[in-house]
Amino acid sequence: MIFAIIIGMSLVTMIPRLIPVYIVDKIKFPDWINRWLNAIPFAALGALIFPGIMSVKSGEPYVGIIGGIVAIILAFIGLNVILVVLGAILAVFLITVM
């Protein structure tokens, strides 16, 4: 049963990734669409982070927010992504045990 779910998830993950390979060749985008597509990564990261981050611990949105703030600070001082992630995990851990 779980394997059926995994195979299904695999297909619906691959198909949207694959289709653009075949359509991008066929068309030449005007300048504004290029700018749009260049902005997509940043928009996507924004939408992925918030409000999802508030569900890190169910019913306690501030836990995710504090973890996020710690991550922002660590990233801002220029730490590597791994350290940012570890720091945020540590922060959330400390909040939940206290």
């Binding site: 394997f3 779910i5 998830m9 653009p20 359509i23 918030f50 590597n80 945020a88 851990f93």
Partner: protein
């Protein structure tokens, strides 16, 4: 790219505690290779959601990758299709974000090789990390494994902040996308809200990124 490892371990730990076996949770990483979807999938399996429900939710959540893939492939116009297919399959939120920050390689001679190496490193550290997390899931205390739910978000923040430091407008685009996502949330599922936030938030870039060099 090794930034994947802690997230993969976090996924492994959570999936194990959601009741997946080691083989199942590792196979999910091999076949699906999508961080957020796998976290969600494991979660839904844990709460006893049906197969169709999980697959549809995954599709909706992944639809944003259609948009990302479009943006990604637009940079690879000169590369042959034999390269594009494997590159597109290795596309995830994380690899997309990292590769978006290294855009000049796309125009270099061995650009495709650079991206392929990037994706393969990500892929294998993802699989290895999941397996490791699954093993750890049996032994580490629940408070610690719960704390790992922040890993994915912390990684997104860690990827976004350096770009914002370089170009403040980028932060504005991200914030607008967040707000659109929040506004949409009461009316639709999380996956669709993310898609709309990304698409409309990205549209603001048409104006905000204007005047930047079109190299």
């Amino acid at each position: 790219m090794l930034g994947y490892l802690p997230i993969a371990i976090a996924y492994g730990v959570l999936a194990k505690q959601a009741g997946l076996s080691l083989v199942e949770l590792t196979m999910m990483s091999v076949l699906v290779f999508a961080g957020a979807s796998q976290f969600m999938g494991a979660n839904m399996i844990a709460v006893g959601a049906g197969a169709a429900e999980i697959i549809v939710a995954t599709f909706v959540l992944n639809f944003r990758q259609f948009v990302m893939s479009l943006s990604f492939m637009n940079r690879f116009r000169d590369i042959g299709r034999t390269w594009k297919v494997p590159l597109s399959l290795g596309l995830t939120d994380e690899t997309f974000a990292v590769s978006s920050l290294h855009t000049k390689e796309a125009r270099e001679d061995k650009g495709a090789l650079f991206y392929l190496a990037l994706l393969l490193t990500a892929y294998f550290s993802w699989i290895a990390g999941s397996l490791l997390g699954g093993v750890l899931g049996e032994i580490i205390p629940e408070t610690l494994s719960q704390s790992m739910g922040i890993a994915l978000y912390a990684m997104f923040i860690g990827l976004l902040v350096p770009s914002v430091k370089k170009e403040l407008k980028v932060g504005l685009i991200a914030i607008i996308a967040m707000l659109i996502n929040v506004l949409c949330s009461p009316f639709m599922s999380e996956g669709w809200a993310i898609v709309i936030g990304t698409v409309l938030g990205g549209l603001t870039g048409v104006y905000l990124l204007k005047g930047e060099s079109e190299s």
